[in-house]
């Protein structure tokens, strides 16, 4: 084939030129379309400082201070509220535990909405950390539960209620699956998320057997008047679109020695919180005195959230 018109191959025919340029233009246009979401990117939101921010665990105290100031300024700009943004460290000799009395809970959802108010969750679309399951009496089959119940009065006859939130497992499957280590377990037993490090892959939500993690599919909307200015880096500072969030036992309160908000609003006193390592704390006494169980024990997650009944 050497003799058959070598320059015929070299000279581009009109047909092949058209075909080639059409393909190239199509490819270019497809590439432009693929990166077109970038044009919606808020350039104000994307600062060099934010882009180069380190992982929480790699930050020096000075880095943290700078980051806290940046976030506080952002919050002030967006909501016109000066937040009291801190980064409370875990306390020595403290491991948080939660106990919930199933016999008392009446399913009124005060905890759910108290939590939303405390932790600056998105109101539109609504994000709630606590799910209250309505279950027929005589079983703990979560498949038969319903969390959309809305009777005129609770408790409804023949039902009991089981609030489910993050169980702060000692063996957390959500932490194991995170490809970027944006979520980890703190020394006080609370699994936290660095919202600036999360890439939004949602593996953790799939791994959680308690359906405890919530994803910001849209830009969270919180009315400025409803912002809670008591903020903590690893807990309730405002999140953005595309990051995961979940219950963190109100770290902004509990690491300062206070009770979580869901406990403080419970009208029937079904919730107890305390230090598992202190033998005289509420939860330790409940673990000793009451009939305690954990949800989905067979999942091997070792939750720090316990459900209990009275012995008599």
């Amino acid at each position: 084939m050497t003799d058959s018109t070598p320059d015929h191959d070299r000279v581009t025919s009109r047909r092949s030129f058209l075909r080639g340029s059409l393909g190239a233009a199509g490819g270019l246009a497809a590439f432009a379309a693929a990166i077109s979401p970038l044009k919606d990117l808020d350039t104000e939101d994307l600062t060099v400082e934010k882009f180069l921010q380190k992982h929480y665990k790699e930050m020096t105290p000075e880095d943290k201070q700078r980051v806290l100031e940046r976030i506080a300024a952002e919050v002030e700009k967006r909501y016109e509220v000066r937040p009291e943004l801190r980064d409370l460290p875990p306390l020595d000799g403290v491991e948080f535990g939660y106990a919930l009395h199933l016999g008392r809970c009446i399913g009124c959802r005060r905890c759910v909405h108290g939590c939303v108010a405390e932790n600056n969750q998105s109101r539109k679309p609504e994000i709630q950390y606590i799910r209250v399951l309505e279950m027929p009496q005589g079983s703990i089959d979560v498949d038969r539960s319903n969390h959309y119940y809305h009777p005129a009065k609770v408790p409804a006859r023949g039902h009991y209620y089981m609030p489910v939130q993050c169980h702060q497992c000692a063996n957390p499957p959500c932490v194991k699956v995170c490809p970027v280590e944006a979520t980890w377990q703190e020394p006080d037993g609370v699994t936290v998320i660095d919202y600036d490090w999360c890439i939004g892959c949602r593996y953790c939500a799939a791994a959680c057997p308690y359906f405890a993690r919530r994803f910001n599919y849209m830009q969270p909307e919180v009315p400025a008047k409803d912002i809670n200015p008591n903020m903590n880096y690893l807990s309730n500072r405002p999140r953005t679109k595309g990051v995961m969030e979940k219950c963190h036992f109100c770290l902004q309160r509990t690491r300062a020695g206070r009770m979580p908000r869901c406990l403080e609003v419970c009208p029937v006193g079904a919730r107890n919180f305390g230090n598992l390592l202190d033998p005289n704390s509420q939860v330790s006494q409940i673990l000793r005195k009451k009939q305690v169980f954990v949800l989905k024990q067979d999942a091997g997650t070792l939750p720090r959230f316990f459900y209990y009944f009275d012995q008599d």
């Binding site: 077109s36 759910v112 319903n146 020695g257």
Partner: protein, 227 residues
Amino acid sequence: MTREPGRQVGSSLGLLIGPSFFVLAAWLAFGPPVTTVPELSAAHVSAQQITTAPRRTIIGDPPTIMINDFERMCSDCHQLFPLGPDPIPGRRQHEHVKLEHGINDQCRNCHDTKNMNRLVLYSGESISYSEVTHLCQKCHGPTYHDWEAGIHGRVNGYWDPAKGEPRKLKCIQCHNPHRPRVPAMDPLAPLPGPHTLRMGKRPDHEPKPEADPLRRSLERSRDRRQK
């Protein structure tokens, strides 16, 4: 020069693929379907509904009530009108008190008939209103021990005694002593149901049982089965 049939097919395929990229790109850039999320108003929750205050306020020790703008103690009337036999037929005072507390069907079970500003234990010992927990303790022993340990009833404030005071409530700050059973409450709004084909359009916080998508779905499938 003859072309092989295979090459011809290839080139016409190329002519098809090129423009289809164009079409796809144009569609992606200019006309991707806008995914609309149903606009939902957030559930309206007043601060009153998520208050951390106790359910009931203690009226003081000794308790006082306002009668014609004058603050009166119980004994002010009951010195003149001693407690009659219980239950009083056709009671004209304290009508709002409906006694539903187990076997206690008489005022004198808890109130001291000799001094109405005080309460009385079943031993006859008179105690003040602020010591009410000792009265409840006489029947509700296990519950009292739990309360002492902080595991019955809500403890607000601080879990860490080094940082602040835990705020424990007394029995009557949650329970009405005349009807101690916790009354049924209005539940706050649930999360709106998912918008899926199976469950239909999601309701906008309607406080009706029909608004429950899971229930509607179950009812529909039950209806289908029955047909």
